[in-house]
């Protein structure tokens, strides 16, 4: 069946198989992908604002920069390897888009910020280098919220920002919006994103693709322009669970450049995929079927049930898995869930403010062209011009809550609550505990993709788009979002799995099983609007 699909829509494992056997050339794959980008992405990827073309509003705009020539050269090298009888690797010829928060040697590595618009990285991030070593071909860098600070990709300094391939009036989610949109629209077979509070999973849910946030330390952060260093996880965005397994296989493992990357053996993620879910204990938690957030006008804390379609999709997934032999455990308590966003607000901003210190206009990045009085004036003007609104807000907040007179009240307290959140998960995954779960099943997001402009500007409300995702980052555990259907408006619904430390394999196995169980469902055959126009 996959062979009948156009090359850009085929899964990575099928493309790699064809390239390795010589059935299809890597050049043909790359050319087909570039043609798809040409057809759906809109104006040529650029960091300069273009003319305000009404055509823009119908296009995806996933890419900030393309490395088409290097990609074709790489494809030819892979084809030559195949011709010589060598194995170019398990991802041979697979087109890869890279969230532009990763440094890739010789490419503009911008973090979607004017600050780094002209920064060309002299080295390649470890996860990208490993995917390339496995045969994947980097096509270009895709858009994101500036420095990954956001959940809609709208805050990118490089407009027009990415749009949702299923509905161009909606956001793709974020911050890995370009990653999810490019994979959904066949502009890449595989993308690498980063997840700090759901930044892989939420856009994956909004764009109807698979997004995996690995365990913290499973994948090296070397070369990832840091946001919240204790939360950031690089991970794959793909169209299938099998592709996510292949990509994680290539990316995972210890790294001499990152001491927080764990020196643990990496299991074979593809091998167990077909083992089914019989006997797995999968939990459902009431704490993930409602959200608690401050009312945007009154500030009052409110509890709201999730939209029925999202609840129904999650329950439907649970039922399908139950029919396949999984044991569904109801009413699993995760009492500290609602603290996730307030805690994240503090911790991520303290780390972000510090991580942004290096962008001072001294060594690289934007330096003001205005006349300057002194050093402080140069700092102020360079940072004032180079940073957009989101970095500035995060610096203000981060400075405030880590200041000497407030740190114990905010930052230290947030760290303690983070420990409590971690304990919630430890107790339900404990093999000797009361719940002994192999995974938790939850909705990925409280809503499907929202309209462009509907939430942007309200930083607090925007943050609550990550409410159901963020606690995996606090706890460091792996989590995956997979497509679970569509809402009445034709927008994808994401279903999320949480797992125990280092147990990505079980999440991939459940996701793969769910794909198999729903392969013939009508919703599986829907195509993004961007591909039909």
């Amino acid at each position: 069946m996959t062979l009948s699909l156009p090359l850009p829509d085929q899964p990575a494992h099928a493309i790699a198989e064809s390239v390795r056997t010589g059935a299809v050339s890597a050049r043909a794959v790359v050319e087909a992908t570039l043609a798809r980008i040409d057809a759906v992405d809109g104006r040529r990827p650029s960091t300069s604002p273009g003319p305000d073309d009404p055509e823009n509003s119908r296009r995806v705009h996933a890419y900030i920069s393309l490395q088409a020539e290097q990609a074709l050269e790489r494809a030819d090298a892979i084809d030559a390897q195949v011709a010589r009888g060598e194995d170019p690797g398990p991802l041979a010829g697979v087109p890869l888009s890279v969230k532009d928060i990763f440094c890739v040697a010789g490419t503009p590595s911008t973090a979607a910020s004017r600050m780094l618009e002209h920064f060309v990285a002299p080295y390649t991030a470890t996860p990208i280098a490993r995917l390339q070593a496995a045969g994947a071909i980097a096509i270009g860098k895709v858009n994101l919220d500036e420095y990954a600070y956001g959940s809609s990709t709208e805050s990118s300094a490089f407009q027009p920002a990415t749009r949702n391939p299923w509905n161009a009036n909606c956001v793709p989610g974020g911050s890995s919006g370009g990653s999810a949109a490019s994979v959904a629209a066949g502009e890449a077979t595989l993308s690498v994103g980063t997840d700090t509070a759901g930044s892989i999973r939420q856009p994956a849910a909004f764009c109807g693709v698979v997004g995996l946030k690995p365990t913290y330390g499973r994948v090296s952060r070397y070369g990832l322009i840091a946001f919240g260093s204790s939360l950031d996880c690089p991970g794959p965005v793909t169209r299938t669970a099998r592709d996510a397994a292949l990509a994680l296989q290539a990316m995972a493992g210890a790294d001499p450049h990152d001491s927080t990357a764990a020196a643990l053996p990496v299991p074979d993620y593809s091998r167990g995929l077909d083992q089914g879910v019989r006997g797995l204990r999968i939990g459902l938690s009431p704490d993930y079927f409602r959200i608690r957030y401050p009312d945007p006008t009154t500030g009052e804390i409110r509890d709201t049930e999730l939209p029925p379609e999202i609840v129904a999709a999650t329950r439907a997934a649970a039922e399908a898995l139950a029919r396949a032999g999984a044991e569904i455990v109801e009413d699993v308590p995760l009492p500290n869930t609602s603290f996730g966003i307030p805690v994240y607000f503090v911790i991520s901003r303290v780390e972000a403010a510090s991580n942004l210190h290096r962008f001072d206009g001294v060594k690289y990045g934007h330096r003001t062209q205005q006349t300057i009085r002194d050093l402080r004036d140069m700092y102020r003007k360079s940072r004032g011009e180079g940073f957009g609104r989101q970095p500035k807000l995060r610096i203000l907040m981060g400075m405030y809550v880590s200041g000497a007179q407030y740190a114990s009240q905010y930052y230290q307290r947030a760290l303690r609550v983070r420990t409590l959140i971690r304990r919630d998960f430890e107790s339900v995954f404990d093999p000797q505990g009361a719940y002994r779960l192999n995974a938790l099943l939850t909705p990925t997001t409280p809503t499907t993709a929202f309209e462009i402009g509907a939430v942007y500007g309200n930083s607090v409300l925007m943050q609550y788009a990550d409410l159901l995702a963020v606690n995996a980052n606090h706890a460091g555990i792996p989590a995956l979002s997979m497509p679970g259907g569509f809402d009445a408006g034709g927008l994808p619904i994401g279903v999320q799995l949480f797992g125990a430390d280092w147990d990505e394999a079980t999440l991939l196995r459940i996701a793969h099983t769910f794909e198999t169980l729903t392969a013939d469902a009508a919703w599986r055959s829907r195509r993004p609007l961007a591909l039909t126009q």
Binding site: F102, C103, S109, A111, L116, F119, A121, P122, Y123, A125, R221, Y222, G223, L224, I225, A226, G228, S229, S230, P256, H257, D258, S259, T260, V350, E351, A353, S354, L356, H357, R358, F359, D360, V362, K363, Y364, L375, Y379, M399, S402, G403, A404, A407, Y411
Partner: protein, 482 residues
């Protein structure tokens, strides 16, 4: 008139002599390297880079902690100290804020007057160095050299236990000795391996209060420490005697003009917003690792000095000199061992000959081609009368030059002492035959005996046994008149 005493504490930045920097693979030592030639993405703080801790830096801190009788934490943490400066590429310095690897401890400092003054150590922590900024005011530019970024440092903080500028200077002398002894740092002050800030206050002699202190920055030589603190004590006494209060200033010592300059008032201190660096795990010392490091802790200078006095019967002076440097003391002990005893003779040779050769060649004892075994062999040859003392001394440079052993050189160059009676008598006779008038003179002036011996020594090219010659001349010369 009141009498005052000074209360001084030091903060010393010690540059470690690791091979690589503390968080990347660049060489730690950039001495003489052109600006920005010893850098990489990590130490320049490029976007996306991460630090990876150099284990050797941790080991050196453990050794220092053990030598200072301190608590070495099994788990210590790294924090970010956030501030902006052009030569701080990340905009924060990675340091250890509240859980430093070395906590407490003390350091016994021998003073020239024989007292041993115990100085408490508050803490010592690991951190990375910043780069160097050069302000070219005329050209209106500021130039940054990042070679020094990421060089491993230990910052050591003492208690306020020093009571004079001289004590502070002696502390630094002994600390430099210890650091070299432990092979932690080259401890070369001229090269900035040791950088010192001094906290100074005064109080009425015998009081226990701590008055507001000033911090003197950039005192980077032993003399500067002495002079800057002396100047500051005098200034503070002047203030108090004039009825003014000493304010908590930060002062800069200008070594050129030997003057103190006020940099800023302490009240405006920055908030560094310290927090744990999420990019680094804690430094966790496993028991095996700690044991292995501590097993390399050598006997310390003061202990070795007392042992030399007690076990070898050396004078306090000789023992001090011979324990100045670890390599020198090791050399001495190896020579004693090779000789099978006679430590005083070995010490005598060390003080007279080995130290001279070391000074002349600017070498350390461990690098000397004239090995302890060579010294033992030479001493044995002199004691046996095979060569005389002067030949022994001459042998040192010959061994260094040729790489041959003393015994080989004696055989090859005919350096053995002439001590057979026949040979010596022939020598003496030849001198007498050539100098009849001197024989007459000798009758009036018996001290000419030395002259005759000297002539004979010259004839033998220094190889004759001088005492035997003297005996022979006494026999063959006519009796003196007096």
């Amino acid at each position: 008139m009141l009498s005052f005493e000074a209360v001084i504490g030091l903060e010393i930045h010690i540059q470690l002599n690791t091979h690589t920097k503390i968080f990347c693979g660049c060489r730690a030592d950039s001495w003489g390297a052109p600006p920005n030639s010893n850098i990489c993405p990590v130490c320049c703080g490029l976007p996306g880079v991460l630090p990876v801790l150099n284990r050797i830096a941790v080991e050196k801190a453990v050794l220092l902690g053990a030598a200072l009788d301190a608590q070495v934490r099994d788990e210590s943490f790294f924090d970010r100290k956030n501030y902006f400066y052009p030569d701080l590429p990340k905009g924060y310095q990675i340091t250890q804020f509240d859980q430093a690897i070395v906590q407490g401890g003390h350091f016994d400092v021998p003073m020239p007057d024989g007292r041993i003054v115990p100085i408490s150590i508050t803490k010592a922590h690991l951190e990375e160095d910043a780069g160097k900024t050069r302000n070219d005011v005329a050209a209106g530019v500021r130039q940054i050299d990042m070679n020094r970024c990421g060089v491993p440092l230990i910052e050591l903080v003492t208690g306020p236990d020093l009571r004079s500028a001289e004590e502070a200077a002696q502390f630094l002398v002994r600390m430099r000795q210890l650091l070299r002894w432990l092979d932690i740092s080259e401890a070369n002050l001229e090269r900035g391996h040791l950088r010192c800030d001094a906290n100074v206050s005064i109080r009425e002699a015998g009081a226990t209060v701590l008055n507001p202190k000033t911090e003197i920055k950039n005192v980077n030589s032993i003399d500067a420490v002495r002079n800057a603190i002396e100047a500051e004590i005098a200034r503070q006494i002047g203030e108090v005697e004039a009825g003014r209060r000493v304010s908590a200033w930060t002062l800069d010592w200008d070594d050129e003009t030997q003057t103190l300059r006020k940099m800023r008032s302490k009240e405006t201190e920055a908030d560094y917003r310290y927090f744990r660096d999420p990019d680094l795990l804690s430094a966790r010392l496993t028991p095996e690792w700690k044991r292995a490091v501590l097993a390399t802790l050598p006997e310390l200078p003061l202990a070795r000095r007392s042992r030399f006095i007690v076990d070898y019967g050396l004078s306090a002076y000789d023992a001090s000199i011979l324990t100045e440097e670890r390599a020198l003391s090791d050399y001495f002990e190896a020579a004693v061992k090779a000789l099978g005893g006679n430590p005083k003779t070995v010490a005598n040779w060390m003080m007279n000959d080995i130290l001279r050769v070391l000074n002349e060649s600017n070498a350390t004892a461990s690098d000397l081609a004239f090995k302890p075994a060579h010294l033992a062999e030479t001493i044995r040859l002199v004691e046996a009368g095979t060569i005389n003392r002067a030949t022994g001394t001459a042998l040192i440079t010959k061994v260094i030059a040729t790489g041959r052993t003393p015994t080989e050189l004696i055989a090859a160059e005919g350096l053995a002492q002439i001590s057979g009676d026949d040979a010596l008598q022939a020598l003496a006779q030849a001198v007498l035959d050539e100098n009849p008038q001197q024989i007459e003179a000798y009758r009036k002036k018996p001290s000419l005996l030395k002259w005759f011996v000297g002539q004979a020594m010259r004839k033998s090219q220094g190889k004759a046994n001088a005492q035997a010659l003297e005996r022979i001349f006494l026999c063959v010369l006519p009796p003196a008149d007096v």
